[in-house]
């Protein structure tokens, strides 16, 4: 199939429909209004249902209902709206309901602004709402990857009966890139769900319950979720290693920040600096093991984020003090240029004497 030039928000919508999504419930918020706009028309064409709800609260609860009834369902929003949806996301996780939630992150806190940001990392990767739970969080860095991850998101949601979040940002939603879409799936090919609400015809009634008053029962439910999350950690971690083979310093960045990092790496490579990138494609589960392995040979890491520093905490957890972890980020919707990041790389690279010969590859920037 020929590539189509499309903006990120439309890519998300088109990929969702091709992945079998037939139900979308949303509420307008910039910078993702093109998602509900696209879905309102596209779902009409395929006989699906689009509801513009009265609030983010209502829309995420409509998602809960649609998922209970067995629908492939999604919603999307941007940071302040995602905060409002957190109650429902906690319920989705507790009720073990599959759903896809896209967050085109904007500057915060509060109303913030409508510029691209990555400041919802903590919220997304630590659950976000109340209770012991996790969302699977996918972080695309291009429109093509947004398309592919949207397909993946619906399958992961069904596989684990858990909410899956797609973390983009204002830039990803707006930018246009050529995308090759997979063929639309055949809805009949999806595995049957034996737990949905459909009316108790010829079977005992089902109850999908959130209230588990007995602490022993809720403890077991929490452990059941924990075992599920353990399986996600074992099976679903994904990352990209970029020019890390000979690298003496590695940047860690995801999404839009990773693209900027690649631009910076191209610049410093021209100057002979051996710098690579590790790009988490899943933010939860986080590629702790990959970073731990990397830190055996690379002792200088530079985390780049469109925030004042959130993912850096996971990087530090991953390398357990074995590598020096530095940070460069711009919060509040400011987007650094590749040149800006290249300056930061240069600073840390020479400070650690990484330009000097080191046959072991460890001494220069290494352990104190």
């Amino acid at each position: 199939m020929a590539k189509k030039l499309m903006r990120g928000s439309h890519v998300l919508g088109e990929a969702a429909v091709r992945a079998g999504c037939r139900y979308y419930f949303g509420y307008p918020i910039t910078p993702q209004n093109e998602v509900p706009e696209y879905m309102s028309g596209r779902l009409l064409e395929v006989g699906g249902t689009f509801v513009q709800a009265e609030s983010e609260l209502a829309s995420i609860n409509m998602v809960i209902g649609a998922s209970m009834a067995g629908g492939r369902v999604m919603t999307s929003s941007s940071s302040p709206g995602i905060s409002l949806k957190q109650e429902g996301i906690s319920y989705l996780a507790g009720l073990e309901l599959p759903a896809v939630v896209a967050n085109m992150v904007r500057g915060g806190p509060g109303l913030g602004n409508i510029a691209p940001a990555q400041s919802d990392y903590f919220q997304a990767t630590r659950g976000g709402g109340h209770g012991d739970y996790r969302c699977i969080v996918l972080a695309p860095a291009s429109c093509q990857e947004l398309c592919d991850m949207t397909f993946k998101a619906f399958d992961l949601a069904d596989k684990y009966r858990n909410p899956v979040m797609i973390m983009g940002d204002g830039m990803m939603g707006q930018m246009m890139e050529p995308v090759e879409f997979p063929e639309a799936i055949d809805l009949a090919s999806l595995p049957a769900k034996d737990w949905t609400l459909s009316g108790a015809k010829g079977r005992p009634p089902r109850a999908i319950l959130s209230l588990l008053l007995n602490p022993k029962v809720l403890e077991e439910h929490n452990y059941k979720l924990t075992r599920k999350y353990d399986a996600v950690v074992r099976e679903e971690v994904a990352w990209e290693s970029y020019m890390t083979e000979d690298a003496r310093m590695v940047l860690v960045a995801y999404g839009t920040a990773a693209r900027i990092a690649k631009g910076a790496i191209a610049r410093v490579r021209q100057m002979g600096m051996k710098v690579g990138l590790l790009r988490p494609k899943t933010l939860w589960p986080f590629p702790y093991k990959a970073l731990w392995e990397l830190s055996k040979v690379v002792r200088q890491l530079l985390v780049v984020e469109l925030s004042s520093g959130q993912m850096i905490e996971d990087v530090e957890l991953a390398v357990k003090g074995r590598a020096e972890v530095n940070f460069y980020g711009r919060p509040g919707g400011m987007v650094p240029t590749p040149d800006e990041v290249a300056h930061q790389i240069t600073h840390y690279y020479y400070r650690a004497q990484l330009d000097q010969d080191d046959s072991s590859g460890l001494a220069a920037g290494g352990l104190k």
């Binding site: 209502a58 609860n61 209902g65 629908g71 459909s198 109850a207």
Partner: protein, 248 residues
């Protein structure tokens, strides 16, 4: 021997956990009888509230999915949009439907969602121990209105069902009570009409049931029923509020 009375098939044979004199068990039974009579039990999907009826799935012998506090009509909207041929109902208290869930309620009605809501109004937050509800009467005692509800300080009770009548999508709205055999019969008739409205695809239907909470009102069940008829119905008058069903 001829059987003249039996438990509704749409109720599970479980003992209600509700307090003595509480209206919930009676209202559960009426709803279940309506399911039996309309022959819809196997097509019904219910959404209980957060509140005293949160355990309703223990009693209704139908599929049920729990909603967050106040969001029952949004959850029900999601279910109904995926399964439009099923009979979807919410069962909500006054705090759930008329305070925290006001927006979801008004917009579900205004969209004309083809759903039935059973709204149990007892004028207090029962499960949390008798705090002021949006429907607490002026002067009425609650644990958060010392000296009784003072309208200057605490605002006035909200007539949600009358508000919903303004919404174009609402089709059948009625307020009933379960304080006497005659009123119970009327209540059941309204509940049956509400579900028939949905079966016929006409749009949003709601029955508000004035219901006693002797525990939090600190009255005997008999006193509580009398008080509903003497005081509560002055603020919440019984009767049909909107009927655009076209039924005779």
């Amino acid at each position: 021997m001829k059987k003249v009375f039996e438990a509704p098939k749409s109720l599970k044979p479980n003992i209600f956990h509700y307090c003595p004199g509480c209206g919930h068990s009676l209202i559960h039974r009426l709803v279940a009888e309506v399911f039996d009579e309309l022959g819809i039990r196997e097509d019904v999907i219910g959404v209980p509230p957060a509140g005293c009826a949160v355990l309703a799935y223990n009693y209704f012998d139908v599929d049920m999915g729990e909603a967050p506090h106040g969001r029952a009509l949004a959850v029900a909207t999601g279910i109904k949009r995926v399964l439009p041929e099923k009979i979807v109902f919410t069962y909500q208290g006054d705090g759930d439907i008329a305070a925290i869930g006001t927006a979801e309620t008004i917009h579900a009605a205004n969209r004309g969602e083809n759903i039935t809501a059973i709204f149990v109004n007892n004028g207090v937050y029962g499960m949390t121990g008798g705090q002021m509800a949006p429907t607490t009467l002026p002067g009425m005692n609650s644990t958060t209105t010392p000296g009784g509800r003072d309208v200057d300080r605490d605002g006035s009770p909200l007539n949600l069902t009358e508000m919903l009548a303004i919404a174009k999508g609402s089709v059948f709205l009625e307020r009933v009570a379960v304080t006497s055999p005659a009123k119970v019969k009327k209540a059941k008739k309204a509940i049956k009409t509400a579900f028939q409205t949905q079966i016929d695809g006409k749009g949003f239907s709601l029955v508000e049931v004035l219901s006693a909470c002797p525990t939090n009102w600190k009255m005997s069940p008999v006193q509580a029923c009398k008080w509903i008829e003497s005081d509560m119905t002055k603020v919440f008058p019984l009767g049909n509020i909107k009927d655009e069903t076209g039924y005779k």
